[in-house]
Amino acid sequence: MVTTKILEVEMGKELGKQGVSPLHRLLELNSDERERLSQEFGQELHEDLMTVNMGPQHPSTHGVLRIVLTLDGELIVDAEPVIGYLHRGKEKMAETLRFFQYIPHTDRLDYLAPQINNVAFCQTIEKAAGIEVPPRAQAIRVILMELMRIMGHLIYVGTTPLDIGAASMFFFAFREREDLYDIVDSITGQRMNNSYIRIGGVGNEIPEPTVKAITDFVDTFPAKVDNFEKLLTGNKIWWDRNRDIGVLSADEAMGLSLTGPILRGCGIEHDVRKLAPYSGYENYDFDIPVGGVGDCFDRYLVRMEELRQSARIVSQAIRNLPKGDIYAEDRRFVLPPKEKVFSSMEELIFQFEVVANMKVPRGEVYSAIEATKGELGFYLVSDDGPRAHRLHVRSPSLLNIQALKTLARGRYISDLVAIIGSLDFVMGECDR
């Protein structure tokens, strides 16, 4: 029995429907429901179904995701993802923090690829305020974003086979990630949660030895992806566990608002980098891989090809790095360089003005970029003040998890692990 109670919520006096937790949704089926579900799944359902909580501490859910499974034996009759365990109120915080104080908070969204979130947020402010980012800063951003995309996809390449039973991939993928961590560390000063992107530019120059390290990395990396593929793509077990599992048609995927590798796995060439280029992506030569069937295996192939394409973009960007400033010269919004602040009175005043008084003109902006999991968008309403009136994060992970319910119904528990892996979400971004 599902208890649902309509009540007058005291604060505001409007009607709100407060449901019970989904724990007991389908425990008792009436005969009509059972017949309908039996037909849907093509097998006779038993009378008593079992409810199992998967998570929130299950290793294969990659974070604090809880899935309430209603099972008939191993068959998944219903899977209800329950989220919110990592909800930190990032959107509310944005209304009380100054714009540049919020940049470190964006790192904590998709913490596997923090620079992409930084760029997405800073770009929103730049659009709202009309700041032009110099070409060199744009190129450095592209380099970092693509390195982050490689890092994000390597997590997928490492952990999903681990969940399915191919433990050795984890070590290969994380060895490469370690090289990338060293590179990112040498540029930004930190391994994780770097907060390196600034409104109007980037934090500092890429050191000369790092340029060589990046060049070496992107030159050798495609061969390593080939090695990953040798281990996985033709692997009978990997093939069996992913082929025709979690199939989504293109229409279904669009209806579920899915983006990124999942939508591309369904055969739709949709990539914000190509369709609405930002940060100078139109200057680079790269391909958008698409799948055909829309199953877990297609998503895997798309991500593998994206690893190569990202390396291709970085290789073009690092070889043709434009000369010039890494900071926009717009003293209304952009902090002056530190060395000038310590030697010039005017710059010190500008520094103070920007820190204490930076105001973004009244207006609304939606700015989207292609993150590792899909389209990451920031919707900003500014009210001519130093803080956002409203900041909304369009998180790809939230929508990816929502698709889980559709994909898991009628499959077996072992498939669920493969589906969770192929959706590739991060709870920090989902719950915000």
């Binding site: 724990l23 669009m254 968008g377």
Partner: protein, 190 residues
């Protein structure tokens, strides 16, 4: 090539409803996106038109959120004052996106004004993906979506009292003893 924001507005005025107006009257669109201020009763037909018949077709409902346009100091219920120019307390903001190659624009924004007690039609029948997005808006703002299959809290726990993203919700939260007053409404099946 493609539609400018004014072209798009003229097009939907002609094809969907003449009551659709320019949303930039209230708030400037700093990103140059077309901003369509739509009355509630025409929301679903507008979404359907943009998804199926418009050229280019906006087939993705990318984002669905809301903003609270009340002034923060007016926290006492009953005497709510709104920002100048606001038509109601909340704006529900939809963003739709073109899929794949095609003509500009890439995004379109739809705005629906709603008061505290009014309901907004749910668009889950058109976009199954709007399910969680509408639940989130309900959870954070207390806006009720009419026709939603399972409208309940998503990020905050069941039984939580209050809507965190409203301007009158205190930043440091509320007294914990008052947060879960509705907790006793949660009953397990007999």
């Amino acid at each position: 090539m493609g539609l400018s924001p004014t072209d798009l507005l003229a097009l939907v005025k002609e094809r969907v409803s003449s009551k659709i107006s320019d949303g930039t009257d209230y708030l400037r669109a700093a990103d140059g996106t077309a901003s369509l201020d739509c009355p509630k009763e025409h929301l679903l037909s507008l979404l359907r038109y943009l998804r199926d018949d418009c050229e280019p077709r906006f087939r993705l409902l990318t984002s669905l959120t809301a903003t609270d346009e009340s002034l923060p100091q007016s926290s006492s219920p009953g005497s709510l004052s709104l920002r100048p120019g606001a038509k109601a307390r909340f704006r529900v903001v939809y963003h739709m996106e073109r899929v794949g190659e095609g003509n500009r624009p890439f995004h379109v924004r739809i705005i629906v004004w709603t008061g505290q007690k009014n309901q907004v039609p749910s668009c889950v029948s058109l976009f199954p993906g709007a399910d969680w997005l509408e639940r989130e808006v309900f959870d954070m703002f207390g806006i009720v979506f009419d026709g939603h299959p399972d409208l309940k809290r998503i990020l905050m726990p069941d039984g939580y009292n209050g809507f965190p993203l409203r301007k009158d919700f205190p930043l440091r939260g509320k007294d914990p003893s008052k947060l879960y007053r509705e907790w006793n409404l949660l009953r397990l099946p007999d």
